[in-house]
């Protein structure tokens, strides 16, 4: 009954999908980014006049049906893209506010609220819709929610607790979220310019991603080829401030170092880095500090949030799906909107696509509460 034996299985991504403001699938996102497309427009979903910015990266055709939350409509679209999946596959979702727009449709004075506003209603909905044998659970850790959900799914496979885990990541833009980032003065009045000297903040975006993880045996038994290996991951807290990153990037550094240590990958083998890159003054400065302290100028880096906005809880999932494409093609899309790179950033970032060398790509996310997550993917031979 002790049951503490630690097994170490390899973990692979066998399917990766994304829905963003740039297009309905991952190919549309990847080719759109290479063609410098942007999904950022003036938002028409609600009145933006009271807020700092009118801009957001919304999915054009996403509309609420029968007073349902937009999140369930987005979930329907994501489910439609999925390959056949075992009913025993464990479901993990990642979303910060899930169906929070249900609060917006109610007069709060004296009325009751639908239980679908709870974040756990998202995995419940998806599991039921897919007929899975488990109800799944949602991981919530601000803007690192997706990365942590993927890390936890990978960990369950690595340790032999699961052989197949589906991670569905999504957040939608509602007046609730939009007004909050505006009130925090984190929002740029113009479309976000990550890592540019003239950046003024983030632009919010919405989107979804599905990452299907499998252990080696499961993958081989289904004769499914891997897209990439999830080598290792690290998660760490800044323990500094609730809404601002630690200036020295201590939490992000620790997360990256832990990820490298876990798989015994030297830092100098990491030659491609998909950053969080929100476009806020302090986040980007923190990441530039981390880049310069850990990586040589041979490492190329990018941020896609100048094109698809900051998709909050979905960001890590969308970026993970994109990393799969980057490894497959050895080509990293440029940093959208970048014109005049911030000091000490120009050696890493480019507005143009960059060739990726080496076998690994690092992707990171950081968020409120001081949370940081780093995941290293390896090219599938």
């Amino acid at each position: 009954m002790e049951g503490w034996q630690v097994v170490m299985n390899k973990v692979y991504i066998t399917s990766a999908n994304a829905i963003t403001s740039i297009g309905p699938d991952l190919d549309a996102l990847y080719t759109g980014l290479l063609e410098n497309k942007s999904g950022i427009r003036k938002a028409l979903r609600f009145d933006t006049a009271p807020f700092v910015s009118p801009y957001a990266a919304l999915i054009d055709t996403l509309e609420s049906k029968n007073k349902q939350s937009l999140i369930f409509e987005l979930a329907n679209r994501l489910i439609d893209q999925l390959p056949p999946i075992d009913k025993d596959c464990l479901l993990i979702t990642a979303s910060t506010k899930a169906g929070i727009d249900l609060l917006e449709k109610k007069n709060l004075m004296g009325s009751t609220i639908s239980s679908k506003v709870f974040p756990s209603s998202l995995p419940d909905y998806i599991a039921q819709k897919m007929g899975l044998n488990n109800r799944g659970f949602n991981i919530n850790s601000a803007c690192a929610s997706s990365s942590i959900a993927i890390a936890k799914g990978a960990s369950l496979i690595k340790l032999g607790h699961a052989d197949c885990v589906l991670i569905c990541c999504m957040d939608v833009i509602t007046e609730f979220t939009f007004s909050g980032f505006s009130a925090l003065r984190a929002m740029s009045p113009l479309p976000a310019l990550p890592f540019d000297k003239n950046r003024q903040g983030l632009t919010l975006g919405e989107g979804a991603a599905a990452i299907l993880l499998m252990g080696e045996k499961k993958m081989e038994s289904l004769n499914i080829p891997p897209l990439a290996q999830v080598c290792s991951w690290g998660i760490a807290n800044d323990a500094a401030h609730v809404t601002a990153p630690a200036k020295d990037g201590r939490g992000l550094k620790l997360a990256i170092k832990n990820a490298c240590t876990q798989a015994d990958i030297p830092l100098d083998k990491i030659l491609a880095f998909n950053t969080h890159g929100t476009g806020t003054v302090y986040n980007d400065l923190m990441e530039i500090t981390v880049l310069n302290s850990l990586f040589s100028k041979n490492t190329c880096a990018n941020s896609i949030k100048g094109a698809i906005g900051h998709t909050i809880g979905a960001a890590g999932g969308i970026e993970m799906a994109l990393c799969v494409k980057m490894l497959e093609t050895s080509l990293m899309p440029g940093t959208a909107g970048l014109k005049d790179p911030e000091e000490n950033a120009d050696n890493y970032f480019s507005p143009d696509p960059q060739k990726i060398s080496g076998d690994y790509i690092l992707t990171t996310n950081s968020g409120f509460g001081g949370t940081n997550a780093a995941i290293i993917l390896k090219r599938s031979k």
């Binding site: 009954m1 002790e2 049951g3 503490w4 910060t96 506010k97 929070i100 609060l103 917006e104 007069n107 709060l108 009751t112 609220i113 639908s114 239980s115 679908k116 506003v117 709870f118 974040p119 756990s120 209603s121 995995p123 419940d124 109800r135 659970f137 949602n138 991981i139 919530n140 850790s141 601000a142 690192a144 942590i148 936890k152 960990s155 340790l159 032999g160 607790h161 609730f176 007004s179 909050g180 980032f181 009130a183 925090l184 998660i235 760490a236 807290n237 800044d238 323990a239 500094a240 401030h241 609730v242 809404t243 201590r250 939490g251 876990q262 409120f368 509460g369 001081g370 949370t371 997550a373």
Partner: protein, 237 residues
């Protein structure tokens, strides 16, 4: 290898504190107000800005740290996993109210920061300088067992020295379609560690079956973290 429960703290509708300092609360009053002096002797400026959900979770964490004698000397390689069905819904509703035109108010940035249910984990990490991983698990049935399994895994593979693992649920009086009795309002947190050299003062060992589907405390199966807390304290709390 052993996983040992070294600390336990809680805030329920009936009582709050830890084994060495239990405050019994008046019955039928719901969750208690939480004042700074309930958890910190010394002034702690950030406490006043926190929402109730954060105070609730932080209080249970602080009680668990005190119970484990780590309040004054925390180990920074400590992570936190919290399970929650409700999240910070009460705070969400208060923030949403600031958006209603008839209230003639501006959206509150201070309130918005706490509409992320994981922010109280950041508060606890800041208070103790904890750099381990921290996240919230949202499940319809908050047993806390998914989080317990993950916490034990982190300790088992040696990634972390201590794990705080628990549940934090706010009161839900105005939500349709939920059996209010199925979600216990309140917070409970455990401080877990591996291979404690001096087992005296701890509550004892946790074990699990080989398929990782069940946990046991002193050979007795654990249904949920509330059940585990009762077994540890050996009386109704």
């Amino acid at each position: 290898m052993n996983i040992v429960i070294s600390g336990l703290g809680w805030v329920y509708t009936t009582s709050m504190g830890y084994a060495g300092d239990i405050k019994v609360l008046p019955s039928s009053k719901g969750l208690p107000p939480i004042e700074r002096k309930d958890i910190f002797k010394e002034p702690y400026k950030p406490f006043g800005r926190m929402d109730y959900f954060s105070k609730l979770g932080l209080a249970a964490i602080v009680f668990a740290m005190k119970d484990a004698n780590l309040h004054g000397s925390p180990n920074k390689n400590t992570g936190i996993i919290a399970s929650s069905s409700t999240g910070c819904l009460e705070t969400d509703m208060k923030y949403q109210a600031t958006l209603l035109p008839e209230n003639n108010t501006l959206p509150s940035p201070a309130l918005f920061a706490y509409t992320l249910p994981s922010c109280f984990l950041g508060e606890a990490s800041i208070r103790y300088g904890l750099t381990g991983e921290s996240f919230v698990i949202n499940e319809t049935d908050t047993t806390g067992m998914t989080g317990l399994g993950m916490a034990v895994d982190l300790l088992a593979v040696g990634q972390i020295d201590y794990m705080l693992c628990g549940i934090n649920n706010s009161q839900i009086d105005r939500v349709d379609g939920v059996d209010a009795t199925s979600i216990q309002p309140g917070a409970v947190f455990f401080l877990l560690e591996k291979n404690k050299k001096n087992a005296s003062g701890s509550y004892g060992k946790l074990t699990r079956n080989e398929s990782n589907t069940s946990f046991y405390y002193k050979d007795s199966p654990i249904k949920n973290l509330y059940d585990l807390a009762q077994k540890c304290v050996k009386k109704n709390i």
